[in-house]
Amino acid sequence: MIIDAHGLRKTFTTRSRKGTQTVEAVRGVDLEVGKGEIFGVLGPNGAGKTTTIRMLATLITPDAGTATVAGHDLLKAPGAVRRNLGYVSQAGGVEESTTPRAQIIMAAKIHSVPDPAGATADVLARFDLTEIADRPGRTLSGGQKRRVAIALGLVHSPPLLFLDEPTTGLDPQNRANLWDRIRQLRELGTSVLLSTHYLDEADALCDRLVIVDHGLVVAEGTPGALKREVADDVVTLRLDEPDRAAETLKPYARETRVDDDVLRVYVDDGEHTLPTLLRALEEQRLALSSIALDRATLDDVFLAKTGRSLRDTGAAA
């Protein structure tokens, strides 16, 4: 177990002239991350992902809870935790005026890496940054900066790497590229804790994940198991009388859910169930305007657990 955290809590208090406001950012989070795992924290903006990661990275002190991170007690030995940690924040921390090479060598020196220049050259090569290593940070593209940020967190070869929203703001090609590089970390045995609000990212990268909402873990497991818990497939129907249709289809479905004029029917064998559903609707003279059959996604898991769609909350935030 590289991270073993129990009951982490953090409440922020802001004081202004209007009075004191408290925000319960994290309300009791348990995390157990195995060695060599890529572990995801999936949730909408404001769910407490960043606060959780910042607590585990020794940046903020939890109000309650205990955690062992990379073999050391988070509260009693934060210094030892820091020595074994790579941390890549959302902002990245790449300096504009300095070259990637100079910044990474400096990071290596702070970590007392035996051969800072050599370790820097290695990590630059691994992230295809050798060519741009001696250009000022401000001239780099978003994707390059992101890779420099990760190289900065990896130069001391930590057993554990934290990635806070690693692909936010990247275009699809750079995202796919970064996903491949994160997968390579698994081959090298580095454990990764990453937070994301992208469903596809969590699905594609994570061995296991937790879904968090309003500061609490609402689901935990492998992406496959979480989805199977809901159903294999989702039939999405648009029609005028979704409530009556839901009533009609209930016997054939594991679950049904109505949002405005959209009816979602969760079934296990979509291809074969679909004709049955259509027949049942026909018999009740329910007119369809559209129908779609999809594999269940983590969004369906989120919907089942919280009653909201992550796509909606993500767009609203």
């Binding site: 990275a57 890549v88 990245g92 790449v94």
Partner: protein
Amino acid sequence: MIRHTLLFLVYELRNTFRNPIWPLFGIVQPVVYLLLFGPLVAGAAGQPISAQLTSFAPGMLVITALFGAIGVGYGMLYELRSGVLERIAVSPAWRPSIVLGRTLRDGVVLMLQSVVVIVIALVMGMRASLPGLAIMVVLIAVTGLFSSGIGYGLALSLRDENGMAQIMQFFALPVMLLSGALLPMTLAPEWMRKVAVFNPMYHPVVAGRALFAGNLTDVSIPIAFAVMLVLATLTVTWSVRSLRRIAG
């Protein structure tokens, strides 16, 4: 601990001198005062500029230290926003070294700026005591630690560019005028002189005039060193603590 402080100091100095445009901008204001205000003071006093500069130039060095604080505060806010500070905070670096390395860098930069300002004043005809000049450069470095401490402390506790600009602007002008850097406090009414003693920047200005004039045993010199050392210790401690609040 010392290793990390030195690491940060060397790294930051290298960054500063890779692009020395900002330290050069830092001496624009005092140099403009030297060139365009010094002669006016000399004219008003009916003195030749070469004699006047001996008492006018020390104030310009203190102004360099005072306005330097604003710049370093903004630099720290940038490092806060870009995540650089957070990244360093999740490293085994000894916490105070993160701020101390930067503060010492500011001290070194300020000493070099002072030398440039002094050379310009000498070129303009200033006559001054050489040991006095050397001691003044050291006094200015300590003054710089004090003002950098304020700059970093404000940046790290306010974390807001606008708030910092307001506070700096509110204080900069009265502190500058009450230090006697532009026009000496000997011209001031009694009450102003009493108030000026409580202005930290007043002391290095007075001590600087004594040093430049070669009165190396003047009592104002140890007073200025004592005041600045105590205040620098306080403000640097404050800035280190403000960092701790941000980064655990």
